[in-house]
Symmetry: C2
Subunit: 212 residues, 2 copies
DNA sequence: CTACAAGCGGAGTGATCGCTCCGCTTTTCG
DNA sequence: CGAAAAGCGGAGCGATCACTCCGCTTGTAG
């Protein structure tokens, strides 16, 4: 919510040991969630971090808030990856971003179920979206992607990759790469028309807003 | 486990009201799971079925067993859909099956998380697999699908569609159709090589066997 | 019709979860 | 150094879940 005033609004500053524990908890949560899913108990997270559950709850008001923080980190990283991809030549940036963002998701699979349920007003989300739109336009300009693909199609594409990542994570953690290759092949021009309306921006927003 | 001797091994026959309640419970479970997910409480299911929880547990040893029964129904239906698609002309059967099976999954989304975690030895699974392999071969023979696509690619494709169905279910329950169109476009010949090894059969089996 | 096996509802049980509270410890700063 | 503020661990609380148990009801065979 009050993301911008985060540091300022805290009562001055965290004590050194407290700040350290906060980072330990975030790292532990990422690891534990990646291993056993979001259903992992807070006790387990605290244990891995080497602190008590009391400490966890002094740094994060709820388990939900801890997850939200992890999600925020991932979103911010995705934003960076998107901006890095803009530099790619010949309209290949989109492809590069899909690859790098999927790889990053595969490594941070713990919080993926919540990744797509953040406020659509989230600053990082807005930034990623804007950059993806630019990448898509550039890819089209270079004839890398068919004209009837929309930005919402790419959002849906990332939802689909998440499904593959989650399903194959333990058995074949790189399997999503082949699926992405298939999807990229589908994005290429000269295919038959897709024949179904793309999602509207409002629909994507609704999915993001759903707290389920 | 002892699927084959199911009917025989029950102590003769269910009383009329008991058999009726069993069906009511299955229908209620399908509905409730579809609405609120597998996390739904057994009490809610019993309430919708119009019976007590005691009755539920007299028909199904655990909640898990109830879910397994629903999954079995879905798998059997998918097997039928696959066999129906064999009749399609010009190698279009594969496409038809992907469409009909996805539509069916969208309507029975409740148990989807467990759908892909059944024993690989399950008779319905074996049947679906065999038929899909035939559909794929026929599609290739008619030049509808590129040669480097394997049966495991199609399994992965269905995992990906599940992700889209689950994510968009409340907002745009038909969104998966456009995603499938994109995937089908990717399956078509004349694309660049996919560049990643497909899953092995053994890997798919491992995913199925994982009870998570 | 009758007797009894089978079925029934739902309060109760134990396990597990997210979260709180408080007596003690550590850091910070004049 | 010393005092006060900040942080700490983990026992314990209430809520929730899957599941059981038992006194009453209902279907059915003879």
């Amino acid at each position: 919510m009050t993301q911008a005033s985060d540091v300022v609004s805290r009562p001055r500053q965290l004590r050194r040991d407290a700040a350290e524990n906060r980072e330990l908890l975030l790292a532990a949560a990422a690891q534990v969630f990646a291993e056993v899913g979001l259903g992992a108990g807070v006790e387990e997270i605290a244990r891995v971090a080497g602190v008590g559950v009391g400490t966890l709850y002094r740094r994060f008001p709820t388990k939900e808030a801890l997850i939200a923080e992890l999600v925020q980190d991932v979103l911010e990283k995705m934003s960076v990856l998107a901006e890095q991809a803009v530099a790619a030549p010949d309209g290949r940036g989109l492809e590069q971003f899909l690859e790098s963002s999927s790889a990053y998701q595969a490594e941070h699979r713990g919080c993926l179920p919540k990744l797509w349920h953040t406020s659509p007003d989230n600053e990082a989300v807005v930034r990623v979206r804007r950059t993806i739109a630019a990448l898509l336009a550039e890819a089209k300009r270079h004839g890398q992607v068919r004209e009837d693909i929309t930005a919402t199609d790419l959002t849906m594409l990332m939802w689909s990759i998440r499904g593959v990542i989650e399903t194959t994570r333990d058995v074949a953690p790189e399997a999503w790469r082949r699926h992405l290759a298939l999807l990229v092949a589908g994005l290429r021009p000269a295919g038959t028309p897709l024949g179904h309306r793309p999602l509207t921006r409002a629909q994507v927003d609704q999915v993001l807003a759903d707290p389920t």
